[in-house]
Every structure is written in C-alpha cells, then in structure tokens.
C-alpha cells in the first residue's frame, strides 16, 4: 500500500528531526515541526497561508532555507514583515497563478487547505510552482468528528477546529482518505505521510490505515509530481 510505505519512509528518516520541545516553546504547533522536518536544508520554500510567519522563521533559522510566504490576513502579514520575513499579502486562490513553474523546491500549505475556495486548483498550482508540495490539514475523519455527527448530529467543534460551522473560515473539510483520493486524481505521488493524534503525537506506523483516519486529528503529506 503506497500510503503505508510513504509513512514508513518518513519514520525511517529521523536524522533531520528538530528539537520538538524547543519548537514547542517557540509557540510552534506540532504539525509545523513535522512539516519542517520534511524540508531539506537550504531549500527554496513558499509557505502558502504563512500566518504570522512562525514556520517561515523556523525554516529560515533551523533549516537555513530561503523561505517566503503568502498570507491573507493583513495583521499576519504586517507582523511577519515587521520581523524581517518575506511575506506578501495575498490570496492563495488567486495569487499562486503568478508564480512561474518550478520556482521553489517546496510549496507548503499548512492548515490552510480547508479554507481555500478551490482546494484542487490550489494543490495543482502548488505542484506546478514547487517540485514538492507539503500539505497539513485537520482530518475530518477523526473519531471525534464522526462521534459528533453520528451521535450528537452536530458539526464538530474541537481544539483544532474551534469555530462553529456558521463562522468558520474552513469551507472545504476532508478526511485523510479523501485527501489520498485527491492526490490520485492529481496524479501526485505521496512520498511521506504523518498522522498526529489529538495530543500531537504521531499515530504508530504499525496501525492499519483506517486507524489513521480514525485517530489522526491532523495529517501531513509530502507530495511530488509523477511526471
């Protein structure tokens, strides 16, 4: 199973591991650490939805990357630029079109996929602009989401998805399996995949995939173009 092999591939390469406790102290999220670990040192990186620039700073300082960002919120951009980061105020759904092919080694979309208007288009653009795409997203197939829907009949509100359906900017939720299916549609190869449980710990590799889709509250995928 390709997905499982991809997971093993990531688990087998711990040498690039960052000091998670230090990153956590920097206000980082665990998924950011997982994302950062997937990035080779000194790469050219575009972070789509860079927020206040936490990941950019991590990549620049820990990985020596030429890291640039796009962020929708004015506050996030201005705070990041004031810290000396190269971030542009823009909309992933629009502005990715202006980047040339193969401009970056990695294009990262961390916790943003579900907020885009055109997730498929955004992913296509990422795989065009970058040689690799890294995507982290909340897994709507997590058992708590299913529990809320199945037993309570309510849209889930969790720590990672804290906003009610009527106010959330997240308009395109998907499950880990849904994402794998989209990657197949886009003819993208899954090089690595990591699922994180609600405590931010990695779901053990030995577990079958349906456990991932059930226990993984977040997922991080590294994709490449097949062609």
């Amino acid at each position: 199973m390709a997905l499982r092999e991809a997971i093993r591939a990531h688990e087998a390469l711990p040498e690039g591991a960052l000091d998670e406790s230090r990153v956590r102290l920097q206000g980082g999220r665990t998924d950011l650490v997982v994302v950062a670990e997937m990035v080779a040192p000194s790469s050219r990186v575009l972070d789509v939805g860079s927020g206040d620039g936490a990941l950019l700073e991590l990549l620049a300082t820990e990985r020596g990357c030429d890291a640039r960002g796009i962020e929708l919120s004015r506050e996030g951009v201005n705070a990041g630029v004031a810290r000396g980061l190269a971030i542009i105020q823009g909309d992933a759904d629009v502005d990715l079109a202006y980047y040339p092919d193969d401009a970056f080694d990695y294009v990262i979309l961390s916790q943003t996929l579900q907020a885009t208007r055109r997730p498929r288009w955004v992913l296509e653009q990422m795989l065009r602009i970058g040689r690799r795409a890294i995507v982290s997203f909340p897994n709507f197939g997590h058992w708590r989401s299913r529990f809320d829907l199945l037993l309570n009949g309510r849209m889930p509100v969790t720590e990672n998805m804290p906003i009610s359906w009527y106010e959330t900017p997240n308009i395109h939720f998907c499950t880990i399996r849904d994402f794998v299916a989209l990657a197949e549609v886009l003819d993208a190869r899954i090089e690595k995949a990591v699922a994180l449980d609600s405590s931010g710990n990695r779901v053990r590799v030995t577990m079958p995939w349906w456990v991932w889709n059930l226990l993984g509250e977040q997922a991080v995928f590294l994709l490449t173009r097949k062609t």
């Binding site: 004015r74 951009v77 630029v81 000396g84 190269a86 971030i87 542009i88 980047y99």
Partner: protein, 402 residues
Amino acid sequence: MNSPVPPEASLRAPSAETGRSEADEPHSPVVRFGPDRPLRLDAGVLLGDLQIAYQTYGTLNAARSNAVLVCHALTGDQHAANLNPVTGKPGWWETLVGPGLPIDTDRFFVICANVLGGCMGTTGPSSTNPATGRPYGLDMPLVTIRDMVNAQAMLLDHLGIEKLLCVAGGSMGGMQVLQWAASYPERVFSALAIATAARHSAQNIAFHEVGRQAIMADPDWHGGHYLAAGVNPQRGLAVARMAAHITYMSDQALHRKFGRKLQNRQMPTFGFDADFQVESYLRHQGEAFVQRFDANSYLYVTRAMDYFDLAADYDDVLANAFRGSKTRFCVVSFTSDWLFPTGGAREIVHALNASGASVSFAEVASDKGHDAFLLEEPELFAIARGFLDSAARAVGITPGRS
C-alpha cells in the same frame, strides 16, 4: 548639513527670487558635472551641465555598506530629515528618517537628492542655463524617472558609494525605487517602494494634466518665461496644487478633518468666499505651495511621472524588469490610497513573484489616503524597520538600539 536660513526671510521674499536662489545656489551641498561628463537623457539629448543638490545624514561606514538612498516625491526635495530652508518646516520624512527611527541615521548613511527637473538646487527649468545666462524655462529638455535615477547614480559615484543597502521612497519616490532596482540591480541590496506603481495610470495622467493646464492658463506663466518677465504664475500653480492635494487625501480623511464645517462663520454667505473649512484649507495649501515650488518644475516633474511605465522598456512584461534580480523588495500600499491603489502595488508584487525575486508586500490599513506614507503610521514604521533591520543583518551591520 547646512544650517537653514531663517524661514521668515525667505518666506517674505518674492517666491520667484526664492526659486532662483535655491535653484542655483541651494542651502545644500551640490555636485556639478560638466560637458565632459554629460547625462544622456531619454529625450535623446545630452545634458552637459548638471548640478545635483543633496543632503546626507549619518556616517558612511568603513565598508561603505550602510548607505541608504531616499527618493522624494513630486513636490518633495532633498530636505528629508532637516529643517527645510525655504519653509522652515521639518523635513518631509522626519517620521521615518532620523536617529533611532526606521531609517536609522545612527546606523545608516542616508542620502537624499533633489530630483532632476526640481527647483531646489538640482538642474531644472528654474536653473540658470549656462549657455544663455538665463533660466532654462522650457528650453530645459523633458526628463524621465530614469533620467532622475541616472543622475542619482552619478551622485553616488561621486560619493564613492558602489552599493546601496536600501533605496526607499513613496509615490514618485517609489517609482525611482523601482527604476533603481531595474536599472542598477547589482547596486541595490534592498528596495522599499511605498504607495507607488510601476506605471502612471490614465486617471493620474489626467489629474496631472488638469494641474498643468491651470499653470499654463495663468497669464503670468508667459509661455514658460515668467522668471525673465519677473512674475510668477502663482494663481495657476496654486490651483494645480489644490486639485492635486484632493487626490492625496481620502474622502474619510477630508470628512474627519473638515466635514461640512464652516470657516469662522455661522451661516453661508451666499457668495463664493471660502465658506467651508475645506475650501479655506485648500486655498491655504495652494498659497503655501507657490512660496516654495517653481511652476515649470511642476510641469516637468509631473510629466516625468506621466511617462513612467517601467514594463514598456522590457517588452511590456514587468517581470522582465526584475529578471534574475537578487534585490530584496518590500512593497507597501495603503487601504484608502485611491491615487496609487493597492491594485497597482499588487501588479508590482506579481511581477516580482514571476521574476523569482524576494518580496514582502503589506497593505496598511489607514484612512489617510495617499499622504499616509508621509504621516504617522505605526504599522508602516514597524514594517520599514523590520525590513531594513533584516537587510542590515544580512550584510553584517550591527543592530541599533531597539
């Protein structure tokens, strides 16, 4: 830095004379280039006698790596951070340039030159034409933004500065920043372009044309030879300034400042006196402006902005202007700026993205309109400081006081 003359004296002097004296013998250091080092203008002629008036702040370090060039806007001048010798008012960018400020004169060597075509000591239509001994007037060739930048490059050569840590400017100053990055990419480590565009829009050309027509319709303009006639087209220039000033402000800013409030009266006079405060304010702006600016310079410099279309020199593809550029860019726009709206800034950013250049872009929320780049805007200050600090770190300049 020269000590400014008492402002009262020059303000009381006839403005034509003020223009003359500042044009030829400004209260600034000048560098002169003779016919042996002519400046080739875009108009296709050589300018064999060129004078550039400039101000500097701070100290050039031994490595000559801390030079920052500040480019002024349409009606600005070289007095960015010192008392203006003509108006007696603070420098036009004293909010941003000074000790401990974002463009920190404790750390950086800051240079600001009067633009080519200006009236504060750099060669322009009010300068004396050495061939005739009289002011150039309309005999001065038309100049472009690129001509202005080429002249600044000659000044930097004269000062022995090969590479700039940063080129910074707003509005027309931002146009010069973009031109600098395109013409001399290897000389520009970082570029800060604020409230600007890569080309002047039809709407902005139209506004400029209104101003120029107001000047040329004034009988005192004398076909451009008013200095020889000993007069000054003050009414035309004042109207030009009034019209332009409206474009520098936002509707909200005008409303907040003046609303429909009446000027020193309880009732409208049912006449054409300045009943409204906003009218009185604009009249004051016009009157103050003619004391410090030359009418022909206004024609020349507005024309230079009109002609600015950076992509036109690069097969109409703006990204080509920055192809392979190592310069770090920071582009800033303001939400309420309708003269240089965010769309124009975004065009620059998209071109920089397409060219692979490193760029930051921030839109600052402000209701102050285009003028915001000259005013108290803490978010702009934080962005400029962060951008310059990052550039300074990258070239190994010691951090300033926080």
